[in-house]
């Protein structure tokens, strides 16, 4: 085991995948210069990245800033035998390629009657809470959950990031990985050997008996801190579940937990309306309504654009304190407040 940051684990997984299969290629914005540290060890754009030296420019290649062309090229390359990893940089940039994602990547296999597969991994980074303003701060994974044919991955730790990326590269379907940039520096013991983490298997990060907290992406460490806080302050035992993949979603683990605890909170950095939390709440209502002893609460970002002002932006996202307040509320079986009904915070 090696102590590794989340972003280093992404780089390690990419190197493993490149070494394991010569059909794996990487292209995207600034991958040759290794700007974010996932394609080698060089530090500046002027230097050649380690991946370029190790694997050559025929396998590691910069693209123009033209997302639709990047995604379309990857789909074509995948359909003809390669296994591309596409670095799209900011998650907001995915919008530039929506036709390729929705009408091509997601539908081609279905429309060709199963005669083609699209083994592509699309990586993008959610740069929220970093004062990058509305055009660079979105957390758009929920809108892609509504596109059948795509698989949606939201790693929340270094070890998960590495294992899930390897599984993504193995997948014969298009996979979108949404990385929470606030987690990039998070360190964890990571197995330096090859391993995969299967999709559709949630990780129970903390066991508990009073309330189930489903935490997504960057909200996982916040939920763990909140669980520790309510345990210390109020003796509440909170179970924290990280789904790790949203399509496919391990709803069984969530329902089994809710049947034990009788209470559910979902926390995520995305907008409230039609978020992953809304889908999870609906599934639990359909399949475990009889087990609920309190209303389901969501701790999300409000349906608001992201301001540039650091002070204002900080108001938007879930925090450990907000999650702890929600835990306390459902464990007190208190009625949902008017604040919650407005969708401002809870």
């Amino acid at each position: 085991m090696t102590m590794m940051t989340y972003i280093a684990a992404i780089g390690a997984a990419q190197r493993e995948a490149m070494l394991a299969d010569e059909r794996v290629i990487i292209f995207g914005e600034d991958v040759e210069a290794n700007v974010y540290g996932t394609t080698g060890g060089s530090k500046t754009r002027a230097e050649k990245g380690d991946f370029v030296e190790e694997f050559g420019r025929h396998r590691v290649r910069n693209t123009p800033i033209a997302e639709e062309a990047m995604v379309g090229t990857a789909i074509g390359a995948a359909m003809t035998g390669l296994r591309p990893i596409v670095d799209l940089s900011y998650s907001n940039f995915l919008y530039m390629a929506m036709d390729q994602f929705v009408n091509q990547a997601a539908k081609n296999r279905y429309m060709f009657g199963g005669q083609s597969s699209i083994p592509v991994v699309f990586r993008s980074a959610m740069f929220y809470s970093l004062n990058t303003a509305a055009h660079h701060s979105d957390r758009p994974y929920p809108m892609f959950m509504g596109v059948p044919g795509l698989k949606i991955v939201v790693p929340a730790s270094a070890s998960d990031a590495k294992g899930l990326l390897r599984t993504a590269v193995d997948s014969n379907d298009p996979v979108l990985i949404f990385e929470a940039v606030p987690l990039w520096g998070l360190k964890e013991e990571v197995d330096e050997n090859e391993y995969r983490i299967p999709f559709g298997v949630a990780r129970v990060r903390r066991e508990g008996s009073d309330v189930t907290v489903v935490a997504i992406s960057g909200c996982v460490p916040l939920a763990l801190a909140a669980a520790e806080q309510v345990s210390t302050d109020r003796g509440i035992s909170a179970e924290v579940i990280d789904p790790r993949t949203l399509v496919p979603l391990d709803i069984k683990t969530i329902i089994e937990s809710v049947r034990r605890t009788g209470r559910l909170i979902i926390t995520e950095p995305a907008h409230r309306t039609c978020g992953a939390g809304a889908e999870i709440a609906a599934l639990v209502a359909e399949h475990a309504f009889d087990a609920l002893r309190a209303p389901v609460l969501r701790v999300t970002a409000p349906d608001m654009q992201v301001p540039f002002s650091p002070v204002l932006e900080a108001e938007l996202y879930p925090t450990a304190e907000k999650i702890a307040a929600a835990i306390t509320r459902v464990c007190s079986n208190m009625p949902v407040s008017s604040e919650s009904a407005k969708g401002a915070v809870l």
Binding site: Y110, G113, P148, S171, F199, I255, L283, H287
Partner: protein
Amino acid sequence: MVAMEAEIAKEVDDAVKFSNASPYPEAKAAFEDLYTDAYEMESVQ
């Protein structure tokens, strides 16, 4: 060119004949070929 066009026309005609002679697909066929691995979208259902 003429030979190619004739070959293509025959292939299309054969496909239409095959389609007309075949039964309608079963309802479950609507759920095939979305993903390469057939996991259940909602495993609890």
